[in-house]
Amino acid sequence: MELLSILSPLFFGLVAAGTVVGIIFGAIPGMTATMAVAVCLPLTYSLGLENGLALLLGLYVGGISGGLVPAILLNIPGTPSSITTTLDGYPMTQNGEGERALKIGITSSLVGGLISLAALYLFAPALADFAIKFSYIEKFLIIFFALTVMAALSSSLLIGIFSGFLGIFISLIGAYDISRGGNGELRLVPEFLEYYLESGFSLLPVLIGLFGLATILIDAEHGMKDAKELSKIKIGGAPFKLSVFKGQIINLIRSSSIGTFVGILPGVGGSAASILAYSQEKNFSRNPDKFGKGAPEGVIASESANNGLTGGALVPLLSLGIPGDSTTAILIGAFTLQGIQVGPLFIGNNPITWDAMIIAMLVANIVMFLVMVFAIRHLAKVVTVPKNILFPIILMMCVVGAYTINYGVMFDVWTLLIFGLFGYLAHKIRLEIAPFIIGFILGPSAEIYFVKSLESFGTFSIFFTKSWIAVLLWVLIAVSIAFSISVARKKKRIVD
């Protein structure tokens, strides 16, 4: 009965409003689900815990889902987890299949969101128990595995691995995080930047620079010539039919499960889910060559995985108090505002709040699907705005996002410029941005896991002998690299 009193029209209204605003945030390049949640967090002061969470979870689901719109129509991932959606979504748009690609993505997002929600509700305690058992060694190997998978996804394994390690290296700039067991000493920082780079480069300005400013610089280099062609994109060219999912059930379930599983692993959230799912689908495909050229199964894998993340990322948050990704990290703020401690006792002590969260996630997924399916033509209008109008607004919003993420730090705006230029340079010399980003996101965690493992065990062999999970992960790493080498050799033979 207490639950029913919480499920008021206001509760459902907040979920719906949050979802719609989240979709808009996700759909505008440079604005993310993380920013949507951060911007609206202060609004939850006066709403109470359940109503506040209803708004924020709507923003989370909407923000992650909305990212597919610019990924498919503009080749700019609206959220980091939409990186792989661009690979096949944008080619589909170029082929006049924009609306079809969007609806495939939306439907996949719904399936991913619902599967992950079911997993969250039914198996959360068991899944959390499993993840808790991972020691630093398994966590380090999972990051290594994610990097090798992403490198395998790249056009060149060598360049992909180099890009990933470069991302890790840049993520290590700053102090060795004392709050996670480091010694707090600075490294790789010039003396005159020590004040600004004590905590290293902030993630969001880096992402906005790489995906916002760099994209615009590349366009400016070409003189914005395709502005007219952009307005000629036939979004509604090919009709969407559910039959596109025929033969894709395994892909949907596997990708949603990968998204959920990756979301559960603390710190291995974000784009790792969609990249893993995409590369697995590519690996299992009979025609891997069609990926990157407009394959619907690529969009299905990417979108079902990144929405699968939404439920999974809440598992470590609610059971351990550890966020699964950057957005759920901000959700901790919502609990703190209400004086609630998230951790192992949260679900047991707050069963009503737990149920309300599950219902909010369910409603958010349904609202997301209905709004995006029926209003996609209006949402998609973002691409019909001429570039000379759209891009300056995007740049302005990039500045707002970079400046506000740490509550008003001008250095974050310069970080946006630095990484915008780096992204442009990377494009020129053909570095791979996706492994770079993953290396950058996971680098600090990888360092802690690696160094602490060595401190504890005093031997490198522990990475091979710690557990059967470690052995399994090494096998997966080897398979991933071997597969990539085999594909490269096949390609070379075809070229020869």
């Binding site: 360049i159 390690f165 010694n183 615009i216 003189g223 010539k225 302005m396 506000t404 410029l417 005093g458």
Partner: protein, 141 residues
């Protein structure tokens, strides 16, 4: 970090912040050399035959975007200091920045397109400034 045997190591906590960066730097060096070895001929061919940057790009739009963005970033905090805690540094600098950038990106500059660029430069920063700074009280430069 000191090696007791090929596999056994002792980690010195006071210098533990250098272990991982050193390992990653070495791996990066090895990978870079591997790239040079495996792709050296391709890189050399590109360097000798290709046109050097920034030849062949739209100089005005590329460097114009960069220059305007740097000026915008420099101007925002300076103007913001005149009107502290109001977000007016962002607002007052965004209007000319958006207009200049829109005009720079235009391929056909006539009265109509310039009017649209001007309207956009006025409306977009006003809406963003009002919603974020006034409505949500979010700090802007």
């Amino acid at each position: 970090m000191s090696f007791d045997s090929p596999f056994h190591v002792t980690v010195d906590f006071s210098s533990s912040h250098l272990i991982f960066p050193t390992i990653i730097a070495v791996i990066l060096g090895v990978l870079f050399i591997s790239i040079l070895i495996t792709r050296g001929s391709t890189i050399l061919a590109t360097v000798t035959n290709g046109t050097w940057w920034p030849a062949g790009i739209d100089h005005a739009r590329f460097f114009g975007t960069l220059a305007l963005t740097v000026i915008y970033f420099l101007a925002m905090p300076s103007v913001g200091d005149i009107f502290p805690n109001t977000g007016l540094g962002f607002y007052l600098c965004s209007i000319p920045y958006l207009f200049a950038l829109s005009t720079l990106f235009l391929r056909e500059r006539n009265r109509r397109t310039l009017m649209i660029a001007g309207a956009n430069a006025l409306i977009a920063p006003s809406v963003v400034w009002y919603i974020l700074s006034e409505l949500f009280n979010i700090s802007l430069p």
